[in-house]
């Protein structure tokens, strides 16, 4: 990528970048807020809308923070893999490595007052919303320090104060919930939007179309984000969907197809979508992304796709590698500094795991807490004036 000089803007696609095209280093400190213009890897494809431009403005600070955050997320997922294999995490564990660019790019475009709701591949999105590594690992291991007090597990991460609504196990059920969040935002006349995320497998659920119809009918600020990693568990998208162009499925609802491995493309698309949703109602974003792990930890991930395919994507489209090349090309950091960041991420993750292991299992009394909210119903009053209270056996 060429630097944005004041005189000319030479923008080349990333794949042709080479460090020999630069004549001298321009050291930027990571706190520098000069604008760098980056071009997305592929142009956006729009359906019923004018796609946004390929040029995305960013700053060195943002680039470095993207890299750091993505490295942390990648490390967390790999660590969760080994924790699962050593039986500290049980049940279902769906890992997000490969797809980090989607949540990083999204967070960069929105505020913590915009709502996000997703399915069960939620660890990194939780982190992106401000969740800590300790809360993550403790929840995965079922400990008290977890974000849901150990009672939710891998598929039920929530963070109410950051408007992260989880964390849902049943495929597709979170999309009507997401439209409900958007409904509440419209009801309260807020200036925020809701991102309801789902996968290519869930895209075939009927409730999505029902929810989309209602969102479009009432102009709800809902953005439906399809994280298309091309496999619904073991079924490739072409075997499950007659038309895998998920961004076109809205028909009258506009859609945008985005390269989900490019954090800047995601950021641009989400910004565009937020503006659109606040004015015109729902929009569908299809993020073309990929997961390196299988569907979950019980799936090796290689029975329905070849290892060559996985390593091919890892070589050509990995989001962290793309950022690394960008950073090196702009001379924002050296190779060694980037390696140090990754080492630091590893260290943080290891520390969090150690801390999480020390957290105790939930107390027995927790079995019955939070089933109902503050006990039962209301005291009776009024014309009857009776104050009988029922007690459970």
């Amino acid at each position: 990528m060429a630097l944005a000089r004041r005189s000319s803007n030479l923008l080349k696609p990333l794949s042709t970048a080479s460090s020999s095209s630069f004549l001298h280093r321009r050291p930027f400190s990571t706190d520098d807020t000069t604008t760098i213009t980056v071009e997305t890897s592929v142009p956006f494809t729009g359906h019923n809308c004018e796609p946004p431009s390929r040029s995305v403005d960013t700053t060195p600070k943002e680039l470095m923070s993207f890299f750091t955050d993505m490295a942390l997320m990648r490390r967390m997922e790999i660590a969760a893999d080994s924790l699962y294999k050593s039986k500290l995490i049980r049940g279902f564990c769906h890992l997000y490595d490969g797809q980090e660019a989607v949540c990083i790019g999204m967070e960069a475009a929105i505020t913590k007052k915009d709502c996000i709701i997703t399915a069960y591949r939620d660890h990194c999105i939780f982190l992106g919303r401000g969740g800590t590594l300790l809360e993550s690992f403790a929840e995965l291991m079922g400990r008290q320090a977890g974000c849901s007090r150990g009672k939710g597990g891998s598929m039920h991460f929530y963070k109410k104060d950051a408007c992260f609504f989880g964390g849902h196990g049943i495929v597709g059920a979170q999309v009507p919930l997401g439209c409900g969040l958007a409904f509440a935002q419209k009801y309260r006349k807020e200036d925020h939007v809701t991102f309801a995320m789902y996968g290519d497998g869930a895209a075939n659920q009927g409730q999505l179309f029902e929810a989309l119809n209602m969102a479009a009918l009432w102009d709800l600020p809902a953005i439906l984000v399809c994280e298309n990693n091309h496999y619904g568990m073991g079924t490739a998208e072409w075997r499950a969907a007659k038309s895998p162009a998920y961004y076109k499925r809205g028909d009258y609802v506009p859609g945008l197809k985005v390269d989900g491995m490019d954090a800047f493309a995601v950021k641009q698309a989400c910004k565009f979508a937020k503006e659109h949703a606040l004015k015109n109602g729902p929009i569908i974003l299809e993020m073309d992304t990929y997961r390196y792990h299988g569907h979950s930890m019980s799936d090796p991930g290689s029975t329905y796709r070849t290892r060559d395919e996985i390593s091919g994507v890892r070589q050509e489209r990995d989001p962290i590698e793309r950022l690394r090349k960008l950073i090196l090309a702009h001379d924002l950091a050296t190779e060694k500094e980037l390696k140090d960041i990754e080492k630091q991420a590893r260290k943080e993750v290891d520390e969090a795991i150690a801390q999480a292991k020390e957290s105790p299992m939930p107390d027995e009394s927790e079995l019955f807490t939070n089933v109902y909210r503050k006990g039962f119903g209301v005291e009776s009053f009024g014309a009857d004036r009776k104050e009988l209270r029922a007690t459970l056996p």
Binding site: C115, I117, S148, R149, G150, K151, G152, G153, H156, Y158, K159, K160, F165, G166, H168, G169, I170, A173, V175, P176, L177, G178, C179, G180, L181, F183, A184, Q185, K186, Y187, G206, Q207, E210, A211, N213, M214, L217, W218, T369, N370, V371, Y372, R373, K374, F376, G377, V378, E379, S380, F381, G382, A383, D384, K386, L388, R389, A390, T391, L392, P393
Partner: protein, 307 residues
């Protein structure tokens, strides 16, 4: 709705049409289309929408035009409505009220005459109440709206036309409390919803025959008001459950188990449970009558119990 701006209604034909049983008549004119939302026919999704809105703090009342249609929304009711408070470790509360008419009507056919109390009763995290009179309908509805728990309010198709003088003022009834309809000495008859009227009819006959039944409208289907029920059993030592629910796995079956577990020592006779037959409700009038429990059957059961 006047008291709390967060309360809203959503359902099919609740707004401009006024509700298929006129329950929400006049509300849309007063509060607008967004607060009284006419939804398309998408039960699963609008129930999900209501639950999502509740997660942010709104208090929606979701109407199923007929309780049977809520089967389509079962996933949302069970997994999201009932469980979110628990799986989020207490972060989110779901103060929804899911209501609608159910029960056997006048020859409405099998699919529109379903009794779904039994299907919902195992869902952890929800409360179920059944109203039976205009008085308790108002009180229970207000209580359900004010409750921070998800409440399923079972109404009955044939009870919408009842007229009764009720206080104009605000009153709220306890959601977990049963109602003593007629105190007595010989036998405890537990019932709810429309069967209350059949029981009261039978009670007249029983009184003429010299029996003194105690009739309790249990109202709270989940959890059971074992306090009131227990006190009654300790007095009469005989129990008859009369319900409109299906026999297999119905409310009566659960109630029988609960009573046996807790009050076995106080029983002089095995618990009798009269429920409707395990059949889809037929269309023909005579067959439909035989599907539900009728007063003569109640009288016969009491006589057998008190022998």
């Amino acid at each position: 709705m006047e008291r709390d701006v967060r309360v809203c209604v959503m359902g099919e034909d609740v707004g401009h049409y006024g509700g298929s049983y006129k329950v929400t008549k006049g509300l849309a004119e007063k509060y607008g289309d967004l607060r009284v939302l006419d939804t398309p026919i998408a039960e699963n999704s609008f129930t999900g929408m209501g639950i999502g809105a509740a997660m942010t703090g709104l208090r929606p009342i979701i109407e199923g035009m007929n309780m049977g249609f809520l089967l389509l929304a079962f996933n949302q009711i069970s997994n999201n409505c009932g469980m979110l408070h628990y799986t989020s470790g207490g972060q989110f509360k779901i103060p929804v009220v899911i209501r609608g008419p159910g029960g056997v009507g006048r020859q409405l056919g099998a699919e529109h005459s379903q009794r779904l109390e039994s299907y919902f009763q195992s869902i952890p995290g929800i409360q179920m109440v059944a109203c039976s009179t205009p008085y308790n309908a108002k009180g229970l509805m207000k209580a359900a709206i004010r409750s921070d728990n998800p409440v399923i309010l079972f109404e009955h198709v044939l009870l919408y036309n009842l007229k009764e003088r009720i206080p104009d003022e605000e009153y709220v009834l306890n959601l977990e409390e049963a109602e003593m309809v007629r105190p007595g000495e010989h036998v405890t008859i537990l019932t709810y919803s429309r069967m209350r009227y059949h029981v009261m009819q039978a009670a007249k006959t029983l009184v003429n025959k010299g029996y003194d039944p105690e009739v309790i409208d249990i109202r709270s289907l989940k959890p059971f008001d074992l306090y009131t029920i227990g006190n009654s059993i300790k007095k009469t030592h005989r129990v008859l459950i009369v319900e409109e629910c299906m026999r297999t796995g119905g409310i009566g079956a659960s109630l029988t188990a609960a009573i046996t577990e807790n009050f076995h020592d106080y029983l002089d006779a095995p618990i009798m449970c009269l429920s409707s037959q395990d059949v889809p409700t037929p269309y023909a009038g005579t067959l439909e009558e035989w599907t539900v429990v009728q007063p003569p059957q109640i009288v016969a059961a009491v006589e057998q119990l008190c022998r």
